[in-house]
Amino acid sequence: MTDRFGPNLSDQALDRVLGELRAPAPSDLLRARLDNAMATDGDGGRAGAPSPAGRTAPRAALFARLAAALLIAAFTGLGAWLPALAPGPGSLAASPAFFLAPVPVVRQAVFDDGAAEAEIGLTLVGGDRAAFAALGLVRADWSAALARAENDRGFAAQGGAESGAENVSDLEAIPLD
């Protein structure tokens, strides 16, 4: 194949160098999240709503997740502030947007100071936002904050170089200490 662009690569050479780049395989964590996606998002995570046939009922699933999150919290030093939290009308559990948001947005929105303990807790439950919604971790105008976060995903997806806190400043983040 001829090179129409003088000193640049030929078509063939370009194909060869492009072939050097190979995408990494998806992580097991992502697979685990997606395996639960149908159960979590099928009804928006609301307790008592109809669930697909044969699945664990959402209410039972929420209790199971709540128990798991409490257990994790006990081991990660979060137990001290958990009793102060309770689901309510303004909690994320009531917002479908919470379930549709990319996990890092949720992570940043809920824990905008990037506390390591919270990060560990979130990871341990496999990024399961329903567990955190069940706990009512954040009460705020979630939709507005989410919209801003989505517009400028300035959360610390690259290791915290940009805090992105301005995107979620309306959130009433629960203190972690």
């Binding site: 370009l14 160098v17 998806p26 992580s27 997606l34 099928g42 990319p102 517009n151 995903r153």
Partner: protein
């Protein structure tokens, strides 16, 4: 989630007993290799194995596409997850025989990636998968080469990048890629030509390494 298998997915368990729970016509037995529409209908009816099979079928492809577009594995996984979550929301209303699921998923991912406003940060070495054959010197050279390719790809405008990734890495024809990007065949060819021309110009410095 994988204990039931009404869709009769090869390798999944429990198909016979749970099959009756799925509202699919008895006159249409599960195909040997279940199609996307069949799997999605089964998944919407609560079949975890069918959902897992769909995830398995497309997760690698669309995560890979997002990675080629964005350059960061975590961002790529977020986009892939978002696409699947949208599929969950759409599953119950999905019309069999309409749009192809693969096309729909790619279109969602393409749009999510193009809409992604943040320019990808420089890619740390650990984000480039190690191909691991040859000695240290060869490995270093390969890594440099892959870094150069990654940087050249990241420098492309998003739509040019999408055109290159869809046709080169994902194997779509120009027509299919143009359809995904919502442009005519001619516009797609032009976009692709510009993308490849820009890549050639940016990568000419690696020519010696490649040919050596």
């Amino acid at each position: 989630m994988s204990s039931r298998n009404p869709a009769g997915i090869p390798g999944a368990a429990g198909g016979a007993t749970a099959a009756a729970k799925i509202a699919l016509p008895r006159s249409h037995p599960p195909p040997a290799v279940p199609g996307d529409d069949f799997l999605l209908a089964a998944a919407a009816a609560g079949d975890g194995a069918a959902w897992s099979a769909l995830v398995e079928r497309y997760l690698g492809q669309i995560t890979g596409h997002a990675w080629y577009m964005l350059g960061d594995p975590r961002e790529a996984e977020d986009v892939a997850q978002e696409a699947f979550i949208r599929l969950v929301a759409k599953a119950a209303q999905w019309q069999p025989g309409g749009a192809q699921l693969k096309t729909w998923l790619y279109r969602v991912v393409v749009n999510l990636c193009i809409d992604h406003k943040r320019k990808a940060l420089p890619i740390p070495v650990e984000h480039l998968p190690d191909r691991g054959d040859g000695g240290a010197e060869a490995a270093d050279r390969e890594l440099d080469l892959r870094r150069s390719v990654r940087a050249a790809l990241d420098d492309l405008p998003p739509r040019q990048r999408a055109a290159v990734v869809l046709t080169y890495y994902q194997g779509f024809s120009n027509r299919e890629a143009g359809d995904l990007l919502g442009i005519s065949d001619e516009a797609m060819e032009s976009l692709l030509a510009r993308g490849r021309r820009a890549l050639k110009a940016r990568l000419k410095g690696v020519k010696q390494d490649l040919m050596g």
